[in-house]
């Protein structure tokens, strides 16, 4: 039972990441009708927002302190981040919590990148075929990836977890079990809650604001909304920016779990497409449900009991599910019938 719960939790945080990426993909597909292969690259840019933010925070001054001597008699170099010099303890706190705070940094950056991308290039591809959309966004993905590589190199750049959140959470005790029966890394729990929060925010935004209502109306029937005198293109541009933000913050928060390198986006891209397809093209709830479902499924498939029966199943389970879903029920779990079916 404990092993079961542990795997369930393991799957949930990975599922959170899948769900967030798939949510952005679906938003873009549902509104603009564009198949965005650059979405993984946006996730990667989000990761590097965290890296850059931490880099900016930790610009240091090196002073040589003649008072303190190292064991072999040389003066010690004292490195203090500038932020700490200026702000004291509060600066130290900033450095420690750089990853969660970088989310605030990532939001405007990703919004600008997303809108620039849509206005600059993607808007010319609404009328072109899906194949051409795939190709151009694939090209953008390569470019973004290589730009990042030329600045940060090819090595993964691990980001630290804030020291308060480094431990393990005693989830078992919260559920009424004995202490230390079921523990779980704190940061993964934070990530899960964070992803649920973002998903909730996106849904609330789409559901309860006028902007969201217009966008939903535009998803259903773009022409009519346009005829009613609403500049739907502008709204959709903002939606693209929003999707970029969702991918970006998902990436920024994921950095402590998986050290980002320049091709982390490509690794997630294929998986998130599978998630979108399983959930149903164009269905937001479908993307979220499928994200968590596939995350959990993947973590169960990697249990020893399962891999001893089907060796290697953990590597391919997601693709297998996608193939079966596509062949049996191409609209996915929650897709509307007729969307992209043929």
């Amino acid at each position: 039972m404990n092993a079961f719960l542990a795997q369930l939790l393991n799957g949930l945080d990975k599922g959170g990441a899948y769900a967030l990426i798939a949510l952005g993909l679906t938003l873009v597909f549902g509104t603009l009708g564009v198949v965005n292969f650059a979405h993984g690259a946006l996730f990667m840019l989000g990761c590097f927002c965290a890296v850059v933010f931490r880099f900016l925070l930790t610009i240091e001054t090196v002073t040589i302190d003649p008072e303190i001597l190292s064991p072999w008699g040389a003066p010690v170099e004292v490195r203090t981040p500038l932020v700490q010099n200026w702000l004291g303890d509060w600066g130290a706190f900033l450095v420690d919590y750089s990853v969660p705070i970088s989310v605030l940094f990532a939001v405007p950056v990703m919004l600008v990148i997303g809108i620039a991308m849509e206005r600059g290039l993607i808007k010319h591809f609404y009328k072109r075929s899906h194949a051409e959309q795939i190709l151009v966004t694939f090209g953008i993905a390569i470019v973004l990836q290589e730009v990042v590589k030329s600045f940060f190199g090819a090595n993964p750049m691990p980001q630290p977890i804030p020291s308060d959140l480094r431990g393990a959470a005693d989830v078992g005790a919260w559920l009424g079990m004995e202490a230390n029966q079921l523990t779980y890394p704190m940061w993964r729990l934070v990530y899960l809650l964070f992803s649920l929060g973002v998903i909730g925010a996106v849904f609330a935004f789409m559901r309860f604001t006028t902007f969201g209502m217009v966008v939903r109306a535009g998803m259903a029937d773009r022409e009519t909304v346009g005829v009613l005198g609403i500049d739907i293109d502008r709204r959709f541009t903002i939606v693209f920016g929003l999707a970029a933000v969702v991918a970006g913050v998902a990436g920024a928060m994921y950095t402590p779990l998986l050290a980002p390198n320049y091709h982390i986006g490509m690794d997630f891209l294929v998986l998130s497409f599978v998630v979108v397809v399983v959930g149903g093209m164009g269905s937001l709830p479908g993307a979220v449900v499928a994200g968590f479902l596939l995350g959990i499924l993947q973590s169960f498939a990697s249990m020893n009991e399962v891999t001893s029966i089907f060796p290697g199943i953990d590597q391919i389970i997601i693709y297998l599910v996608a193939i079966v879903i596509l062949l049996v029920r191409p609209r996915g779990l929650m897709g509307r019938s007729g969307v992209m079916e043929s």
Partner: protein, 385 residues
Amino acid sequence: MFSFTRKQFTMLAVFAAIVLTMPIWLSPLGAAYPGLMQKFVIYAIFAIGFNILFGLTGYLSFGHAAFLGVGSYTAVWSFKLLSMDMIPALFFAVIFAGIFALFIGYFSLRRSGIYFSILTLAFAQMSYSLAYSVLTPITNGETGLLIARDDPRAIDTMLGLGQTTSGMPMPSLIGVELGGYGGFYICALVLIACFFVSQKIFASSFGMALRGIKSNQTRMMYTGFNTKPYLLAAFVISGMFAGLAGGLLAVTDPIAGAERMKWTESGNLVLMTILGGVGTLIGPVVGAWLIKYFENIFSAINTNVLNSFFDFLPDGLQEVMVTIMSKFVGEGWHLTLGLMFVVIVVFLPGGLVEGTERLMRRLRRTGKASDDPAGRVTSGRTVNE
């Protein structure tokens, strides 16, 4: 089968001449060494095969690298178990890749559009992951499958062609070892044969049917045409071309690794085809050559080369130019590739072939003044037919 119009024959002859004289015209470009030319030729075969599927039917497969990988593995196994001769290796590489393509195509072709792309992608990623994990006894995992001196090689032993030299055995063709230029010329002959086959397919009623499916599948079906077998045949043929290319890769360098099956490799293949011109005969070949050329030449340029290149500029400017340009060459040549690719898709969806054609038309028009009849469109996609 061998009936040939004069135009087709000229085209094949010119193509053969270009391919066979590669060592001559590539030497001023600094690319005339056999290893690189073999790559040119092999990837051209790969792209020609892909073009038969994507160019004619419009079905965008993102899983062709898997067939290349299967071809490579099969060829190396044939080297290990049967003979160092390349004929059985290529034969089995093509057959196995074809069977594999039949299997994947049978399922994937039940869907079209982006669903087809994702299905092929999922199948290919699955084979890639399996090649790294469970299938390690067959694929030798991350190390890659290598030949060894004491492999059984049943046919060679039977014929008494035991190992004579002390080094590693080399792939051969009827007893002649293939290294350097020998290997290149063999690959070049195979490429010319492949080009011929693709020419025939483009001109055949089969090719016509595939084009009909591309422009309007529903209408094809309404005319009482069962499109599925045609699509499957195109898929299997292009898979076999990929297998052949994989086999040749193993012939020129007897090692097979799973990284050849990664989906970004399929992406590169798509880039090659698009860059040259989808649906044209010569386009994919040109695209493959250009990309492989840039890969080798651009990635070899370093700051020293750049410094000497921008030597004529004043010092400060030279430094700035070198700093900027160094992002685009060497390690960063993929950036150039990506930019080139975006530009091509945006401005020249027909690829370089269409671009050249437009240029030629404009030149001709300026030459002939304005008596050219307007609206005489020769689209890049239907040239060479």
